[in-house]
Amino acid sequence: MSKFGFVLMTLLVGFAAAMPGAAQQAGQDNLTVELVAETDSPAAGSEVTIAFVATPDPGWHGYWKNPGDAGLDTRLDWKLPAGLTAGELRYPVPTRLLISGIMNYVYKGSYTQLATLKIPAGLATGTALPITVRADYLVCTDEVCVPETENLAIRLTVGDGVISGERRARFDAWRRVFPKPLGSEAKFSIADGVARIAIPYPASAAISDETYFYPLTTGALNYAAPQKVTRDGDLLVIETKAGGTPQRIEGVLAVGAGQGFSVTAVSGAVAVAATGEAGIDWSAALIAFGGALLGGLILNVMPCVFPILSLKALSLAKSGASEGQARGEALAYTAGVVLVVLALGGLMLGLRAGGASVGWAFQLTDPRVILLLLLLVLGIALNLAGLFEMMTPRFAGRLASGGSGGAFMTGALAAFIATPCTGPFMGAALGAALVLPWYVAILIFLGLGLGLALPFLLLGFVPALRRMLPKPGAWMDTFRKILSVPMFLTAIALAWVLGGLTGVNGMALGLTLALALAVVLWVLGRRQVRGAGNGAAWAVAVLVTAAGVWLVSGIEKPAAAAATAAKGAEPFSETRLAALRAEGRPVFAYFTADWCVTCKVNEKTAIETDAVASAFKDGNVAVLVGDWTDGDPALGRFIEQHNRAGVPLYLWYPKGGEPRVLPQVLTQGMLTALPGG
C-alpha cells in the first residue's frame, strides 16, 4: 500500500471510529438482526415463537446450520427469566454458493430463523419477561468473512397470548420457507464412494431443476460434488459423492421456490440405476419379451392400427404379388415398425437416464405432436372414406399401394400412432423396461415392435395365409370406407387428448385446423376427379399442418387441476368445520399434500374407494380436505394442534362427540366403520 493510501486509510478509520453509528464501515454490522416475538403477551404455560430476522447488506450472505465446506452456523446464548426455556434455533431452506470449488450453504437475501420459548405455567398475568440473547454468526461476501455478534433484547409480558393479524401474517410468510417433515423415512447406501439416498416422494409431485439435498449430517457427503436426481416411481434418488461412512444422514430436500422437506435417511438397500453386469434375471427378461410380443400383437386390432394394417394386407392380396415382393414388403414394414418403436424407447430411456421424468407415450404429452397426429389420422380417415386418393406424392404414405418404401412408411406410421393404444395392454411390461438395464429394456421394445409387425410378417412369408384372404373385388371399396370409421374415432380420441393438454381453446383450434385440412383435401379430391394437377393442394395441406403445429405451441397449458379428492369433498377451513359440526353432521377431515407418499396411498386404497364413499353417504358424513402441498401456515397450525408435525393427518368428528385422531395408515374397513361407531 502506498504511503498516501495508508495515511488516508488511517484517517478514514479514525473518522469512522470517532462517529460510531454514523456510517456502516466495512467489517462491522454487515448483517443486522431484529428480534420479533409472535406475541408480546404470551400466556403462562404456553409457547411463543421468536423470530431472528436477519438482513445482510447487498452482496453479503449468512450461513445455514451446516455451513458447507467453510463458514459457521449461528450460536445463541440466551439470558432468560427463571423457568423459561429456549428450543433449538430452526433454519429456513438454504441456497448454495459454490466459489472456486468450495461449497457454501447460505442465505443470500434476508432470512428468518425461528426459536421457541416455553413459558412456565403459573406465572401471574402482567409478569415482565425480559429476554436477552447474544447471537454469534458469520457473514461473508464471496471474498471476505466477518464473524459478528448482536446483543438482542425483547420484553415480553405474561398475558392472554393473543397474536395480532399483522404478526400472524409476518410469521406465516416466514414459516412457508421452512422445511416440512416428510413423514416417511428415507434410505441411503454407500458403495464405491458414491452415496445414493432414496427419498419417498410421489411420482406425481412436481420437482424443479433446482432440486437438491442439503446434508445436515456433517462429513456424510462431498458438498461440492454435483448431485444427480432421478425419479424411480414414488422415490426420488439423489446420487452424489460420499464423504464418509455415516450411520444415518439427515438433511433438507429442497425442491425449488423455498420449498423443502426434512429428511432422515437410514442405511438400507437403494436400487442402483442400471450398471450392467450384476445379476440379470434372463428368464424374467424373456417373460417380459414374450409379454411385449403379445402386447404388440394385440395392438393390431386397436382402432389406431387396424385400418392401416388391413388395407395393407388387402393391397398385397390384390396385387397378386410375387413371393419375393411379398417378403420384401413384409420385411420393410417390420423394419419401419421396429425402428420407430426402438427410437421412441431409446429416446425415453435416454431422457430418463438424464433425470427427466418421462414414461411411455411421452411424446403424447406434447400438444404439437398430438395435433400432428390428429391431422395425420384425419387425413388417413378422409382418404379411406374416399374423399381423395393418395397417389401422387411419392414421398408420402402410399398406404393402399405397393412398394417396399410405402411398406416401410406404413410400418413407421403404424408404430407411431400405436403408442397411445399401448398403455392399458403394455403398462406392466413397459414399467419393467424403465427399471431394467437398458439392453433388457431395448429387448422389450423390440418385442413390442415385432409383435406389432407379426401379422404382416406372417402374411409375407406364408403364402397359404395370403390365399386365405378374401378375393379382391368391388366389396373392397365398401370395406375401405367402413374402415374409415375407427380411424375417425382415433382422430376424436386425439382431439380429446389435445383438449386435456391445452384446454377447450386448444381443442377448438385443433378442430378448426382439422376442418381446414379437410377442406384442402376435399378440393384436392375434386381436382383429382377432374384429372387436374394437385401439387399446390398438397403444398397447402402441408402449410395448414405446419401453421397448426406452430399455433398450438403458443397455447398455454391450463393450470393443473386441483388435487384429486374424495367425491363430494370440500376444502378444509376451521369455519367450515365449525359450521358442519353445528349442523350436527359427522365430519371426516383429512390433510394431504402432493409430495406425501403415505397420503397418496391412503387416498387410493381407502379414502377414495366406492365402499367408503357410500358408507360416508349413508352416514351423512361431510368430508373436508386440507391440501398442505404449499405448506399453508394456517393448515400447519391446525395440524400442529393435533400434535402432528405434518401430513398425513386424519380426523374424525362424530356427531356431537369428541374428535378422534385416526392412525396414519388407513384401511377401507376402518373408514366404513366410522359412521356407525
Binding site: A70, G101, C140, V144, C145, V146, P147, P226, G354
Partner: protein, 202 residues
C-alpha cells in the same frame, strides 16, 4: 436436452477427477514442491522421517486472526516443533483476493505475527491447496514420518469461540501429534474444518 448433456459431462468429470484431488487418512500424502517467503524451495518428501503439519493460512481471515492474536496458533506450532515435527504454513490465496501476499509482505507478516512455522509457503495458483482439498483457513493436515496422512480437519473443536473461551477447546492438532509420537492411532482423525473459505483463483 443440452442441459442434460452438460450435466452428464459435469457428473462424469466430478466423479473422475477428485480421486486425484483429495487425500485420505491412512494413505500416502501427495508430494509437493513450493517456494517459501524467503525464496527457498521446499519439498514435502525432504522431511521423510519427520512428522509434518500443514496449516492453511490467510492473514485476512478473522478465524486465522483470532488464532494468531490469541497466540493459540503460535503455541501449537511451538508444541509441534518441540515434539520434533515440522510446521509448514501454506497460503493458497490467489492474487487480488483477500490474504494474498507477495514474498516481502509474507516475510513481514511472519515476523509481526511471531509465527513459529518452519516455512511460510506461497501457493498463489492453489495447486497444492486443491490437491489436498484444503477448504478453509485454518485447515490442518498431519503427515507422519512414513509420509502417511494421519489427520485432517479443524485445529480445534470450538469454531465459534471467542478469544477468552479458546483455552477450553480441544486442540485436535496437538492431540493428534501426541498420539502419533506415542505410536498410537489418531483417535480423532478427521473433523469438519471451519473458517473462511480458501480464496482460490477461479
Amino acid at each position: 436436452m443440452n442441459r442434460v448433456i452438460a450435466f452428464g459431462v459435469a457428473m462424469i468429470a466430478a466423479m473422475a477427477i477428485p480421486a486425484a484431488a483429495e487425500q485420505a487418512n491412512g494413505q500416502k500424502a501427495t508430494d509437493f514442491k513450493l517456494t517459501d517467503a524467503s525464496g527457498k524451495t521446499v519439498q514435502l518428501s525432504d522431511y521423510r522421517g519427520k512428522t509434518v503439519v500443514l496449516e492453511w493460512n490467510n492473514p485476512g481471515c478473522p478465524f486465522v486472526q483470532r488464532h494468531y492474536e490469541s497466540g493459540n496458533m503460535q503455541k501449537t506450532q511451538t508444541a509441534a516443533k518441540a515434539g520434533g515435527a515440522v510446521w509448514l504454513t501454506i497460503n493458497s490465496g490467489a492474487p487480488g483476493k483477500q490474504g494474498y501476499m507477495e514474498a516481502p509482505a509474507a516475510r513481514k507478516w511472519v515476523g509481526d505475527s511471531k509465527s513459529a512455522a518452519a516455512h511460510y509457503l506461497l501457493d498463489p495458483k492453489g495447486i497444492v491447496g486443491k490437491g489436498y482439498a484444503a477448504k478453509t483457513t485454518p485447515h490442518i493436515y498431519i503427515i507422519d514420518g512414513q509420509g502417511t496422512l494421519r489427520y485432517q480437519g479443524a485445529i480445534d473443536d470450538k469454531p465459534a469461540a471467542r478469544i477468552d473461551e479458546m483455552p477450553a477447546a480441544r486442540n485436535h492438532a496437538v492431540a493428534a501429534l501426541n498420539e502419533i509420537k506415542a505410536g498410537k492411532t489418531v483417535s480423532v482423525a478427521q473433523t469438519q474444518a471451519y473458517g473462511c473459505s480458501v480464496k482460490y483463483a477461479e
